[in-house]
């Protein structure tokens, strides 16, 4: 298989960079998420042969890089708290959106790390259940249960009228 071309890199960047940053922000502090995504693209271009599934490959690379930065359990907990309390805007503010972006950010931030991860991988990264399971190192049924629990938690978190968008 041939190595990745600049045209492919542009295509992958435009298609996946925002979701990758969102995913990285669930695993690493906001200040490091961009660097992690940046490095993932650079490593992709350094591959001798372009991976068959670039999207899944990039998300795995982001996950591995984020985990490697979370060396100690203590630092991990501290960073998760910082991620949860972070004020970084995760979504664009657009009038046509059905949900309030800020409310969605709040609901997402209130989830446990695994639920945040599965929601981002399934919804914004667009990975299949199988790809999500491969990325997270879990079984497909376990990921599906986690996905449903995450959706329920988000729904519950967005029931607060102060956080939802008013037309």
């Amino acid at each position: 298989m041939a190595s990745a071309t600049p045209a492919q890199l542009t295509q992958w960047y435009d298609a996946h960079a925002p979701a990758l940053v969102l995913y990285a922000r669930q695993l690493a502090p906001p200040g490091e998420a961009e660097d992690i995504v940046h490095d993932a693209f650079v490593r992709l271009m350094a591959q001798r042969a372009a991976p068959a599934g670039a999207k899944a490959w990039l998300h795995r690379a982001v996950r591995n890089a984020a985990i490697s930065r979370l060396r100690s359990r203590t630092r991990r907990r501290a960073r998760e708290r910082r991620v949860a309390a972070g004020r970084t805007e995760l979504f664009e503010r657009r009038e046509e959106d059905l949900l309030d972006a800020r409310a969605a950010e709040g609901a997402l931030a209130s989830l446990p790390a695994e639920q945040r991860e599965v929601i981002v991988l399934r919804i914004w990264a667009g990975l299949t259940l199988q790809q999500t399971a491969d990325t997270m190192g879990r079984s497909v049924p376990a990921v599906f249960r986690l996905y449903r629990a995450s959706l329920a938690a988000i729904r519950k978190g967005m029931r607060n009228p102060c956080e939802t968008k008013t037309p």
Binding site: S3, T10, V37, F91, D97, L99, R122, I123, L151, A152
Partner: protein
Amino acid sequence: MRDEDALTGAERELAAALGGLQPAAAGLDRSRLMFDAGRAAGRRGRRLWQGVSGALAAGLLALLALRPGAGVPTAPEALPGETQMALATTRPQSPLPPIRPEAGRYALLRDRVLARGLEALPAAGERWTGARPPTLHELIGGGGAVERPQRGGLWKLLPRRDEQ
């Protein structure tokens, strides 16, 4: 089974609404990323050549180290029934008879050097005891003189007087 088939209607609606939100990609420097990615792609090719060159250099060094005859030369093993010539590393126990100047035999001197090593050569301070230094012709076994070449010619060995 498609991924979303097992979800309830409400769950699918929520998933679709969430999917409508556009993740913000602020913080990523697209130009820097493209530059670094291009450089990484170029480094990939350079590493290939560096690896090939390194492997060739290592192979060459290995060949030089393992080639036959490398290292300290050793005497060949003597075949059965063959006389083994020992290399003269020390001064021989019995002193060599001095080379008689009148003999002047180059072949004799050569044989001694081959048999005993450089020790067989006359000492540096040893003077030639003959009436005159031996000629080249005498050294190689002749008794005559050497005729000087005319112009760009070759030196010529003159036959000994008793051969004339």
